[in-house]
Symmetry: C2
Subunit: 371 residues, 2 copies
């Protein structure tokens, strides 16, 4: 496959920015150099990942994304570079990691320590391998002051572009106790990313808002509700008035719920705005101005319905492309991008992400090829 030609067919001048790539440690014991010795005996996969006891017939990661030698998928930057970046002509890829249950731990000190270790590991082992990788730093939200300290510790690294919070949480992220995280993100010019993970696990409330699902199929179908709840909380609490430069990216939550929530919030705002006098415009306007949503796992109805839905959520501004590599349900770029009409395709593939992450396209020649 000639990837340059393929991208031209999809009329992508600047290539693609992939907003969700899950790099992994080879083994959690590899974090030992980065974490105080007091936590070493917890570095088993179980303590690190805290799984809800729901059996997953399909493993989280694609087997064919494993680099060989028995290593887990997504754990070898050299392999991922060829298997993802080169193969699909991806200009920039945002690493989101696999420490996605960190806000479900009962011990906030351990959670903060392993998040720091994972961030250091990423900056040491992934970022130097290719200029196309950009890093998220993950923080544990149980203790927002420790999280803010972590953001200040690493936020000025030139390759760190965002702070990642997992959406499994016992408190909605609009609440005031989380302000130290947003303050730190703003003073370090970082985006906030909210990514699925940890719902119904550890100290968090039941997965579905009405209890625990029976199957992983049922669990996976309903995961948007956590992102809906955080987005609603952040807008209602006036986060975007308090932090007017803050941008929030919702990763791996799907897309088609956004119009419902925007419309419901706007409708209720007409009647109930006396409770939120700090809101100066309609809730949907905050969402369109401050929030972004990544494509994977994009809903797949008949294509005309998908395009109608994307226009309802103002996708020309709000939607960013992501593969979710190397997860089992990851998307090949053109599988998604070729569904889009001409006017939306470059916005979703590159422009929207470039604008919010302040990525310029100087590294591309006039034909949109990497130089």
């Amino acid at each position: 496959m000639n990837h340059s030609t393929t991208n031209k067919a999809a009329s992508l001048k600047h290539g693609i920015i992939d907003c969700d790539v899950h790099q992994s440690v080879k083994d959690f014991n590899d974090l030992k150099p980065y974490i105080p010795r007091v936590w070493w005996d917890r570095l088993s996969a179980y303590e690190a990942t805290l799984p809800l006891p729901i059996f997953k017939p399909i493993p989280l990661n694609r087997r064919d994304a494993a680099p060989g030698n028995g290593l887990p998928p997504g754990s070898d930057p050299q392999f991922a570079k060829v298997d993802l970046l080169d193969r699909y002509n991806i200009s920039k890829a945002i690493l989101t990691g696999n420490l996605l249950t960190v806000s479900a731990h009962n011990n906030p000190d351990y959670a903060a320590a392993i998040a720091s270790a994972f961030n250091d590991y990423t900056l040491d082992n992934w970022i130097p391998t290719d200029s196309r990788w950009l890093a998220s730093i993950v923080v544990a939200t149980q203790d927002p002051l420790l999280a803010a300290r972590e953001i200040d510790r690493l936020g000025s690294h030139p390759k760190v572009v965002q702070v990642l919070l997992t959406d499994g949480s016992r408190e909605p992220y609009g609440q005031r106790r989380f302000y130290p995280i947003y303050k730190a993100a703003v003073r370090n010019n970082l985006i906030i990313a909210i990514h699925g993970g940890g719902q119904g696990e550890g100290i968090n409330p039941p997965t579905s808002a009405v209890g625990y699902p029976t199957t992983n199929f049922e669990r996976h179908n309903i995961l948007a509700i956590h992102q809906m709840s955080h987005l609603n909380s952040m807008v209602c609490e006036g986060i975007f008035e308090t932090f007017p430069t803050l941008k929030v990216i919702f990763i791996e939550g799907g897309l088609a719920w956004v119009p419902h929530l925007m419309w419901r919030m706007d409708k209720n705002f007409r009647a109930m705005r006396s409770e939120v006098p700090w809101l100066k415009k309609k809730p949907s306007e905050y969402i369109i101005d401050h929030c972004r949503f990544t494509t994977q796992p994009i809903e797949e109805p008949d294509n005309y319905e998908l395009i109608q839905m994307l226009r309802m959520m103002r996708a020309e501004k709000t939607v960013l492309f992501a593969t979710d590599y190397p997860h089992w349900d990851n998307d090949r770029p053109l599988y998604v991008l070729n569904k889009l009409p001409e006017d939306l395709r470059p916005r979703v593939a590159y422009d929207n992400a470039a604008e919010i992450y302040h990525i310029n396209s100087n590294h591309l020649n006039k034909e949109g090829e990497l130089v």
Copy 2:
């Protein structure tokens, strides 16, 4: 206002069926004749309604729907008949009551007793006053066997059309422990209605799936997630294969989230159906065949977007009209129905409800007027 003319303008030959009217007791002490003496001292409004301590600047009910004499809105059938049925030329109205936190009680015996009392009160005090009233019987889901007994006790009453469950729950309603309720509904030819209420209250998990909201505005915006979770559970668990004649109506949860959930379930079904081998068709097909959704609180985007959304959810079959009288945010019929295109309007106003509730239109003359 000439209501006959108004309905003709909206081209409604058979009038309107209102699928959500909240009748109320005048005072919870009025339930004393219907409930064992052991529960009498709990019949304060607090014990009966279990409110989450969220202040509501706008009271639940419209003040102008109060019948006077200091009685609560919705507590006088004679007043409601004039104020709702006559005023808007409503052919049939389904009473859904105001015992909407009953599944949040810690005591299943009290919950079952007050539900029975409320049902008897409705059948004694409301149903005889007008042939247009139809009754729901509310059941407490904490003890499905007691709920089934209640359904068998009253299910053959000719005016009882459905069993009402509140969507605030600690367990998703697709789970097997609830089968006695569905078995009883099916053997009594009753619909299951799932209505908002009790989310985050009493024994139920936090309201938002990530904790408690701060304001009633925030709480109200996110209430669809409970209906999403129950619908997902019921389809995934194969309720509609186990009970192939069962129909479920989702009341007061909004509409525009339905396409997202149908699409996500269908997408996941392609990859994860090995976990649900009892499902013989796509999740969305079960939803379209077995589930219905009431209009209030309908989302209010630009009208062309609303109509696109309604078509995505196959509203010509799945959407039923409801006022939610006498709640503060209730809808006047023509406010909603006039948004709809000609082909959808009679389906939503009357036909879809008439089909599912087996209501015939013999009581109307050729002009669609009540005789």
